[in-house]
Amino acid sequence: MASISLLNPKAEFARAAQALAINISAAKGLQDVMRTNLGPKGTVKMLVSGAGDIKITKDGNVLLHEMQIQHPTASMIARASTAQDDSTGDGTTTTVMLIGELLKQADIYLSEGLHPRIMTEGFEKARDKALEVLEKVKVPVEISKKSLVEIANTSLKTKVHPGLADLLTEVCVDAVLTIASSDKNKPVDLHMVELMEMQHKTDTDTQLVRGLVMDHGARHPDMPKRLENAYILTANVSLEYEKAEVNSGFFYKTAEEREAFVRAERDFIDQRVKKVIELKRSVCDGTDKTFVLINQKGIDPISLDALAKEGILALRRAKRRNMERLALACGGTAMNSFDDLQEEHLGYAGVVYEHVLGENKYTFVEDCKNPLSVTILIKGPNKHTITQIKDAIRDGLRAINNTIADKALVPGAGAFEVRAYNELVAFKETIKGKSRLAVQAFADALLVIPKTLAVNSGYDAQDTIVKLTVEDRLNPDLVGLDIATGEPMKPVDLGVYDNYIVKKQILNSCSIIASNLLLVDEVMRAGMTSLKG
């Protein structure tokens, strides 16, 4: 009898082997759910909710969440997978697979009486060795378009159709290279790549806009729809007259007095508008230049009217982050007051135009001189496709950025896992005592990645593993699985790469989580709510 039941007779508990069984079965169950998602040939799931909401995803997290798996162990693994996603943007499915497999392999030895503690010690040794191998096989790369394309393409091909993946790869790499500073070896601020979506019934296309796309347009019918050679003034200055601010708490003796106050207040706003107009005249008159005002605060109809009369295109309520992006894309400074407006505060764009789609308006600011901020415009027939493409792009960008940060890549297609397996099997011989069994378990567990890749592509798992391990032993180069033929191939030749940091993170987090789960020897549930029952 567990000690908890002395204190709380209604507590539920499970001990030792039973507790372990709970954890292992949860991890295995989760692995089964995710198994089919791994790799380029993995399936993508379309989730349809009770009300008919659609979600397309292969992201482990989303799936776990949507399927409403409410098992404490499962949610712990899911959290590890979230952490993986947060820090590297890839490898969520692999994390779940590997944790499941580690537990599965450990179970074989544990059921024969091996103590979990010895198991976890062995895991630690094996992990350190695997990291060593990883260090050895990583391929240092020059940051060039070619290497970035390869890594982005490997990542994207696991998420979307190859044709689309090629397109997205191009877009992602161009985006990063455009905004990368002169020092190409520094990771870029991905916030400066805006993702803008546009729902269009018949049009699926993703393109890179070297400038900015905003999700709002001019609110005055007479404003120009298209301007070329435009000065851009970005500002955070209110151009709307808020009646109530004066009226409340103020009492007027006569109607005239009130009128006078209203006029004075209105005048205050008009002055600001006039300053913009003056600047516009001084820089544009006599040239073919045009003028655009993009304001983070509001602009009321009267001010819009005055601006429209001057041929100025004015946008109100711009996104806060877009102000920063605008300054980077077009140059110029975001102004907080119009008191001292100079030409040098203005940015420049070759063309600014509006695009109307149903009730939504979009404003494109393009042809900037030296854009340090760009937009990826995603067009799709419906919301869920756009979301899936957006997620893929985000992962692609992360993969590129990781590469720039690591300055190294790891050959993909299961090559690292096979090499690590062989090295670990050799390493096992140098270890004394029972913990060598754990090293063997760890090595076996790693093989789940190439195995699943093979199965998902329609090949026999054992066949593949035998072929790969033998080939790897004979070959100094790394050998991975060619999913098109089912035969071993050299990932380096085909340009299949994974991120170094992703692999490293996976090895670290998986062994820790698996060890923690193995060491659990009692699971209990008690609390206020069950007290009531």
């Binding site: 979307v160 699926t204 419906n382």
Partner: protein
Amino acid sequence: MEHTREILTFQFGTYANYVGAHFWNQQEANFRYGDESDQVAEEQLPHNDILYREGLNDYNRTTYTPRLLSVDLAGTLAHLPVAGELYGNFVQRDEELLPLGTGEKLQKARQLAEESGVSASEQLDVVEQPQAAISEYQRDLLKNAVVPEKNYQLAETVSSWADFLYARYHPRTLNILPGLVRDPAVQCLGTYSAGTELWQGAAFNDDFCDRIRLYVEECDGLQGFHMLHDIDDGFAGLAGKCLEHLNDEYGRASFVVPLHYPRITSYAQADSRLSHGIRVVNSVLSYHHLSEQATMFTPLSTLETIWRNNDLKSRRFEGLHWQADNLYQTSALLAAFLDTATLGYRLRGTPQSLRLFCGAVSPAGRKMTAAGMALPFGLREGQDLIEFLDQSGGQALLTQLTPGCEPGASYVVQSVTARGIPAERLKRPRELAGDQLRMAAYGCDSVSQMLQLYYQCSYHGSVTNAAATPLPLKTQLPFPYEVFGAAFSGSGLRLPGEAEREAGTRVDCAPVLAALQNSTHLGEHLDNLHAQTHRVQLAKLQAYSNSGLERDEYETALDQLLEFRDLYADSQFL
């Protein structure tokens, strides 16, 4: 140049969405489509563009939807897709309803998605969750076959506000909190701090703030915000943070309505004593925040007292019967109040604005106001307003809807709105006037004028703003018409003597009087709250220690709430 003075509405929490659903239903019941021979003058109709926006969906049809942002837990939407039903982007899973709405067939959606190349292997694995049940009323509504006389038994069958929602929302409107699923037994977003934490999380914040911005961008002359939120749970924290954001970013007037559940909320890992503690702390933190951030706030509930209220004593309206803990029925009453009270600044051509309105009833920093309502306004069949007011004597017309608040009858600052009293029922024409001629009020030419005079005479030292519209409260489906007793006629007037409405007929509309009041007595409400805090041991509230509330933070809130209470002291006013 006059332009629309828009208001953006927020609904945080399940009960807030119940009230909101009734509120929007009421708006749409009062839409005029121009073809009705109506006696109501143009300027006495509400200006719908204040609360609504016009849009165009992907099927090129014009939409007219509430300018609204609503947040709720997963599982409260029932059959409603998150994107709403007007703009497509969902699968219609009910064969029968497939040809009617904008929903797609599953096969077609799948095919479309596969063609657009979002799957690496050209195949999509479809995982379907069991189809959500559609209530009978909604089914009929979607088929455009609602029978007004049918008894849908909404009071018994409604399990979520989506079941009786007549209004249709914009895709931007609905927000589901990530990872929180509604649990009928316990409130899973329990504490104020859990709510504020949620607001700060990027998953929710970015998207939600962007939605606010998109709504505001559309407005030519935004005058402010209406905000409804549950106060007994974490949604209060979410709303509080949102209000802070609105003030920072837009600086407009805000009328906030914290709603107390008409039943005891239970929380995870808390027995009834701890639950009470959590509820009190939630209220303290929320009131404190509102006293700083809101332009005006009015706590609403159909209960008489809250906090320590184990027997759930409900307010009573004469002749009305409802189940005290029924969310559907109680929320309808609160929505009726809200709709009526806000009419004052929503009529066409009114010079009133939200800020002026709030300023008028919350003088000298007394931002908390109390709500009172008369439903139905007790006018008898064939009786004129002038007679009714004369005969009411000293009796209070209103029933309070703010728990634990009795503003009293002297030194009250209030804003009353009457609806559904036609001009011809004001007084009799001169030749038939008889006794009425002798009354002082006979000189009044409008309902608002007469109410003004009435309150001038019967409330000592008080300031009253009165407004009126002949438009009655519509009490047809999906309003819980069953709450009306048999003593009212079909148009909501009290039948003379013992007469009863014909069995089988329903009350279709009713005159209503609603008031927002402020007086020194409101300080007692805050005193009550403060008295409860002595029994709360913050350290024992596990839910709060989990969500990281610092003791100091709580004490500061308490202290400042006391300072706020001092504004209601006698010496501070008039």
